[in-house]
């Protein structure tokens, strides 16, 4: 068994963050969140725990919806989606996310694709995990240029969901909506606090000596490198092949 691959750390972290969900939805082109969800599903099945349902959007094979592209949002509005992943071209210290672009809206340059369903799902999915591999000051900013979806809402605004964690290529943060703000929970292997502070454009709480992100144990690694990569390759064949190459190298 080789060393743990950085992406395996991310996948295992996601599986831990999802612990307890019954139904997780994963956006299109999100292989790492999908792999994390699949890992949780496999671990729960092995443990004889209640099943975990995964909906992968835009996938023909894993499309468990039959009412068109509105169904995900209806399903979330009904409280039937326990967890979802959001990212952003910019994410700020209040967990506001920007999927629209840089500069003065509407003439954003660069213009990114757009907000998709974030302005709704961020409000109604109880466990939203912010996931962005690139951990740099251009992504993690003091204040986003455009709020696609706000991290918190005023009292009196109906909100049953929101961000619980931020996972990056360097570290794992939790989010406290009462402050609001992020707290560094752990650093991934090979990264240190100074590096993360420099790469983060907003202030966050942290311990003096932050711990290391928990690594997958050998049994979990076997599952991840075998069954999970097999499952993943149905939807993300290129990602799975790349992972396999890098893990075996």
């Amino acid at each position: 068994m080789t060393d743990v691959h950085p992406r395996e750390v991310l996948i295992a972290s996601i599986a831990r963050l999802l612990d307890g969900v019954r139904h997780v939805a994963v956006g299109a082109s999100s292989p790492i969140p999908a792999a994390g969800a699949m890992l949780l599903r496999a671990l729960k099945k092995r443990a004889g725990a209640p099943p975990v349902r995964i909906s992968i959007l835009g996938s023909v094979e894993h499309n468990f919806f039959t009412n068109g592209s509105a169904e995900l949002f209806d399903c979330a509005g009904q409280g039937r989606v326990d967890a979802f992943f959001l990212g952003g071209g910019q994410i700020d210290g209040q967990a506001n996310i920007n999927l629209v672009g840089i500069g003065d809206y509407p003439a954003s340059a660069p213009r990114w694709p757009g907000s998709f369903g974030s302005a709704y799902l961020y409000f109604v999915v109880p466990r939203v995990i912010l996931f962005r591999e690139e951990h740099s000051p251009r992504v993690f900013v003091e204040k986003v240029d455009f709020i696609s979806a706000p991290g918190t809402s005023e009292a009196g605004v109906h909100r049953t969901g929101g961000p619980v964690a931020l996972l990056t290529g360097k570290a794992l943060f939790s989010f406290d909506k009462s402050r609001p703000g992020f707290t560094l929970e752990s650093l991934h292997p090979g990264h240190d606090l100074n590096e993360v502070r420099e790469a983060t454009g907003f202030a966050f709480r942290h311990a003096d000596q932050p711990g290391q992100t928990e690594l997958p144990d050998p049994a979990t690694l076997v599952l991840l490198r075998g069954q999970i990569m097999d499952e993943l390759s149905e939807t993300y064949p290129e990602f799975a092949n790349q992972m396999r190459r890098e893990v075996c190298a």
Partner: protein, 271 residues
């Protein structure tokens, strides 16, 4: 009906509802619309746009785009769209997916509006003066909620696997296509093929059928979603979309790409 005749239904200044990448985009009609040339179009993406939006914008036919996102998926940003946005050449009405669906649902129900949770505190709302926030009348006070006005597109345009001779169209589980048709004044559909059996004749096929009542015109266009795929029929031609994404980085590259497309009429006439 041929694609040219169908395109002639589209007049300058009309609002067109177009489906998301994977739901059945009538790419065949993109080329016919560009040949036809009716401009000042308002595009309404259900709920996001891609290649078709980028090409119509690139061809200069688009006045505004209402959408939750525009991208070429794995091929990255939509180059002609993004450049037009940066230069302020098209009006943008940024939305979020369920708000797009809500606008259609209001029209489907003959309602002036549809409520929608979320959105409050988003800059999307700040730039949508056409949306309203009211206090939920069923709460004891407070509880603001967004109301999305009905959207009644002039034309819904999409591609589907098959239609029958009665004008019924099989849309499978892509029910956003039905929502577009319910809401729109006219619905134009390209299909892979016409089948002889009545799609409403068996409960199995009827379940995925949009009745002829909602369909204005049907044209046959084999592989009409290409380079997008069509569920149950053929996969997306990712290489072709990547080729487009690269070419369309410049206006010249875009023009060259479009001129070289199969089905381009000027090219066909030149043969």
């Amino acid at each position: 009906m041929d694609l040219r005749g169908m395109a002639s239904r589209v007049e300058a200044g009309m609002q067109l509802a177009l489906p998301v990448d994977y739901a059945g985009v009538s790419m065949a009609m993109t080329r016919a619309l560009i040949d036809h040339g009716a401009g000042d179009l308002d595009l309404f993406c259900v709920p996001t746009g891609g290649l078709q939006v980028d090409q119509l914008v690139g061809a200069g036919l688009v006045r505004s785009v209402e959408t939750s996102a525009v991208s070429l998926g794995e091929a990255g940003g939509a180059p002609r769209f993004n450049q037009a946005v940066g230069e302020g050449r098209i009006a943008l009405r940024d939305a979020t997916c369920p708000a797009i669906h809500a606008g259609l649902m209001a029209a489907q129900k003959g309602n002036p509006f549809q409520p929608l949770r979320g959105i409050i505190g988003s800059d999307i709302l700040r730039f949508r003066p056409d949306w309203r926030v009211i206090d939920n009348p069923f709460a004891d006070g407070g509880d603001p909620i967004v109301l999305i006005p009905a959207v009644r597109p002039d034309i819904a345009l999409f591609h589907a696997p098959m239609a029958d001779r009665q004008g019924n169209v099989w849309i499978g589980r892509r029910r956003e296509l039905a929502a577009m048709a319910y809401a729109a004044e006219q619905t134009l559909v390209t299909v892979e093929r016409i089948v002889d059996e009545n799609l409403l004749g068996s409960e199995m096929s009827a379940a995925g059928t949009l009745p002829a009542l909602y369909v204005s015109e049907i044209a046959v266009a084999p592989r009409g979603a290409w380079p997008y795929g069509l569920w149950g029929e053929y996969p997306t031609d990712t290489a072709e979309i990547l080729r487009y994404a690269k070419a369309a980085r410049t206006a010249e590259g875009f023009a060259e790409y479009m001129a070289g497309l199969p089905g381009n009429r000027s090219r066909e006439l030149a043969r």
